[in-house]
């Protein structure tokens, strides 16, 4: 039974990925300019090479064959060259994507650490002053435009107080060798003489972007956990448990939390696409060298191969995370299994 469910999800994933690659493939034709340039990313192709190159790319065949060749190249990692730097696009994605994932995961972890407990507290202290404070904060945090919030924090903590830097992942004087692309991990793996200082500096650079990016998911988490908790606390089995003589804390822990937190796994998946969108804005404000800033630069520079790759990578990431959180949710929650 379970296997059939997984197979269905895998099929859905495959279908969405095919749709995505079809869209990304069709961008080659929709972008203005020369088709061969759009496909390869090469600028000023000499006319004597055009024939050979377009045969190698399969452009002399029908659309179906072209599409198949295109997906084959995607799978093989031949993503063409970036228009602006003339470097392989895939290599560029490999350097920028970890930066985004790093930032987004810290923000997500922070939002869980802050959001879940305060949501629970708010539910337990329903309509007391603590609940009002938390709910009020959640509403404000949910509503502020993130770029404005980022600039406000920069003004206070960077320009006025001078405590925190305004941009980048680490001070430019630190030269951290590239292993994984995850800054903290790379510093840890390196044998730099100034390892500890570099680690501290990277943390300081992370602080503001992480806080800014965590704001929205934290407030969503607070509101969601509070609602979910209130709903569970209203259930008959909670009343039964109380009637059996368990104290409040025991009821909360054993029966309330487990049931209230189940939908949270799913919520993380649903919030992920918003998180990535917000990460792009955060990256631009803080000059964070992630895929969001890279993609937006690509749009400004009409760097079509980069736009294509960026769209493909980000959508694939969002879809994979969405489907895997849903699968996880189903595994944990028997009620969600609609076999």
């Amino acid at each position: 039974m379970m296997l059939r469910y997984l197979a269905r999800r895998a099929f859905l994933l495959a279908f969405v990925l095919v749709a995505l690659t079809v869209f990304s493939f069709s961008l080659n034709f929709m972008f203005p300019g020369d088709l061969l340039t759009n496909v390869t990313g090469l600028r000023d192709i000499p006319s004597e090479q055009r024939q050979e190159l377009s045969q190698a790319m399969g452009l002399d065949h029908g659309y179906l064959r072209q599409y198949i060749d295109y997906t084959r190249r995607i799978v093989a990692g031949e993503w063409g060259l970036s228009f602006s730097s003339q470097q392989p696009v895939l290599a560029e994605v490999r350097t920028v994507l970890p930066a985004t994932i790093e930032l987004a995961s810290y923000a997500l972890i922070l939002s869980l650490i802050l959001g879940i407990p305060s949501g629970i507290i708010a539910a337990v202290r329903k309509e007391k002053w603590l609940d009002n404070a938390i709910s009020g904060f959640a509403l404000v945090g949910y509503s502020v435009p993130i770029f404005w919030w980022a600039l406000l924090l920069i003004m206070i903590f960077s320009l006025q107080l001078g405590w925190l830097p305004t941009s980048g992942r680490i001070g430019v004087l630190y030269e951290v060798p590239h292993h994984t692309g995850f800054m903290l991990l790379d510093i840890w793996l390196s044998d730099l003489p100034y390892k500890h200082a570099a680690f501290r500096d990277a943390l300081i650079h992370l602080t503001l972007p992480t806080l800014v990016l965590a704001t929205y998911p934290t407030t969503v988490m607070m509101r969601f956990v509070r609602e979910s908790m209130l709903e569970v606390l209203d259930k008959n089995y909670i009343k039964t448990a109380r009637a059996k003589g368990l104290n409040r804390a025991q009821v909360l822990y054993k029966h309330g939390l487990r049931n209230a937190l189940l939908p949270v796994t799913r919520q993380i998946g649903l919030q992920f696409s918003t998180l990535i969108t917000l990460a792009m804005l955060t990256e631009v404000v803080f000059s964070w060298p992630g895929i969001g800033q890279w993609l937006i630069d690509g749009i400004y520079q009409r760097n079509f191969t980069a736009i294509q790759a960026g769209v493909l990578v980000i959508s694939t990431l969002v879809i994979v995370v969405n489907i895997s959180t849903e699968v996880l949710h189903t595994l944990f929650n028997p009620l969600a299994r609609k076999f």
Binding site: S84, S85, L110, I113, L114, P117, I120, I154, S158, L159, G162, W163, L164, P165, T166, S167, G168, G171, V172, L173, Y174, E175, P193, Y194, H196, A197, R200, D201, L203, I204, T207, T210, L211, A249, Q250, L252, Y253, S287, P289, D297
Partner: protein
């Protein structure tokens, strides 16, 4: 129960919010925040000031240098030089203690010799040079007509090199002292030829300068290490990082948070903010530039000299200096700035006088005025930080003498293309010199040849003027040259193909911790002697 399980969570949340201050003492380096990525790492191939600032003085040396204090030529890689009496042969003797950079991609086996000079300049001159074809143009050398000027460059001995010219040119030494005339390594060239990696000459640089190349991440940063074998005395920096921050506001913010130690600030309005703070120093110096209003003299009514003279009297330069330059510029009376040796303090110029302007317009046959287009360039430059505002001020001044002005602007590339095609009536634009020689202003801005090549926006072509500036470079006698330049400037003031408006000062903001730096009005920024106090 609940309290206990939440405690560590709350503690973690608190801990992630506060982190200790950075330990700045661990790394000894300086951060220069620049406006854009370099186009190349070879000064021969570029003209953009941003690129020159980033690469030229840091990675390379030249045969001669220019003294930033007075514009005189100083020995650099050449210890001394002789010029033959006919002005056609230049002999340079080289230093014998100069080493090229030792990097991951190249290890020099010998010191600088005359063959390196030959290699460097023959690349531009000789179409059979192995590296000549790897570049499509050599913009600065093309603009000074290097191939017409220089006949041969030859290494005669290990330490002596000879330049043969086709005609005498008294601005030749100044050309060799510009940031573009950087000396490359012939040995590195040979290695690249052997490995068939010719384009690397311009992307992985080897020079003799105070810093050597370490890494470059496009649109992010350039990292240089100290060249430990440098032949001059240097500051105490171990590395120099050039941080690429194109956004003006972000660059200012990074300066304020001390993420940048030095940065160019093109927006004069921001200077007052920085001048108030104790942890910054603002350096300024009149730079070799001019902002001007040029008339397309091929078009009516600007082909009438009386009309041009009338308009010259209608420009209120003082109000422009206040509103556009925020008082950070000097009024221009000639295209040459006052710190140039060719400038005549007693030269002719017209001042703001509306009565005289009206009277000249009457004489020219336009008693009721006329209408004209003022093209305002869409970008900020040091010589003109806000052309649109300047155009609006001019519009108001001109209205007083009955001339109605329309302001026109296009996107920058289109703007330059249309200017080159001569579609404009008049344009607000400017010029920054590459070297201290007066010829560098007078020839590109107003000569017939440059009307064709495009830098003369007035399309003015006057044989009398061309004769004056041509005679000036044929003589090596400075007094005589100066006299000729005085005459040329007076002639321009009388003919008014353009109205010089302002010479802007050049600004550089640096952290007070940075020592040993001085603005160089004649070229790119140099960190040779720069140091940093803890």
């Amino acid at each position: 129960m609940m309290k206990r399980s939440l405690l560590p969570v709350a503690f973690l949340a608190l801990a992630s919010g506060c982190t200790p201050a950075p330990d700045a003492a661990t790394l000894n380096g300086l951060v220069y925040c620049t406006e854009g990525s370099p186009e190349s790492f070879n000064p021969q191939l570029v003209t953009s000031g941003t690129t020159i600032d980033a690469i030229s003085q840091q990675l390379y040396d030249r045969l001669l240098d220019i003294d930033p204090n007075n514009g005189n030529l100083l020995p650099a890689l050449a210890t001394n030089w002789q010029i033959s009496d006919d002005g056609l042969t230049y002999v340079f003797n080289l230093r014998d203690d100069v080493e090229f950079h030792q990097t991951e991609y190249f290890s020099p086996t010998r010191k600088l010799s005359a063959s390196d000079i030959e290699f460097t300049f023959n690349r531009i001159l000789d179409i059979h040079h192995p590296f000549h074809q790897t570049a499509t143009e050599y913009p600065y050398f093309d603009s000074v007509e290097w191939r017409e000027l220089v006949k041969t460059v030859k290494a005669v001995t290990h330490s002596q090199v000879v330049f043969q010219l086709n005609k005498p040119d008294s601005s030749f030494l100044s050309t060799l002292a510009t940031d573009f005339a950087a000396i490359l390594s012939a040995e590195y060239g040979e290695m690249l030829q052997k490995n068939q990696e010719l384009p690397q000459l311009d992307t992985l640089p080897i020079g003799t300068g105070p810093f050597k190349f370490r890494e470059y991440k496009k649109d992010v940063l350039i990292r240089y290490y100290r060249n430990g074998n440098y032949w001059r005395k240097t500051g105490n920096l171990d590395q120099l990082v050039i941080d690429i921050v194109p956004d003006n506001t972000k660059r200012l913010a990074k300066l304020l948070t001390h993420e940048c130690d030095v940065a160019p600030i093109p927006r004069l309005a921001e200077l007052s903010l920085l001048a108030k703070r104790k942890d910054f120093e603002v350096d300024q110096q009149t730079s070799l530039n001019v902002g001007y209003w040029a008339f397309n003299t091929q078009k009516a009514p600007f082909n009438n000299v009386k009309v041009r003279q009338a308009l010259a009297y209608a420009v209120n330069k003082q109000s422009i200096l206040q509103a556009v330059y925020f008082g950070q510029a000097e009024e221009a009376n000639s295209v040459l700035p006052p710190n140039s040796w060719g400038y005549n303090p007693d030269g002719q110029h017209s001042s703001f006088d509306l009565v005289k302007a009206k009277q000249l317009l009457d004489e020219a046959g336009y008693p009721n005025g006329f209408s004209l287009d003022i093209w305002a360039m869409p970008v900020q430059r040091l010589y003109n930080p806000n052309a649109l505002k300047m155009a609006e001020l001019l519009q108001a001044d001109l209205a007083k003498i009955g001339v109605s002005a329309n302001i026109v602007s296009f996107e920058w590339n289109t703007f330059r293309r249309k200017l080159r095609a001569g579609e404009h009536d008049s344009v607000l634009i400017g010029w920054t010199a590459d070297n201290a020689d007066p010829d560098n202003f007078l020839r590109p801005l107003l000569s017939c040849a440059s009307a064709i090549s495009g830098s003369n926006r007035t399309n003015w072509c006057d044989s009398q003027y061309d004769q004056l500036i041509a005679d000036a470079v044929l003589t090596a006698d400075v007094t005589k040259r100066r006299q000729l330049y005085f005459l040329a400037q007076d002639y321009v003031a009388e003919q008014v193909p353009l109205i010089p408006i302002a010479h802007s000062r050049r600004f550089q903001v640096k952290s007070s911790k940075v020592t040993g730096m001085q603005i160089n009005p004649y070229g790119g920024i140099s960190f040779t002697a720069a140091g940093k106090t803890r």
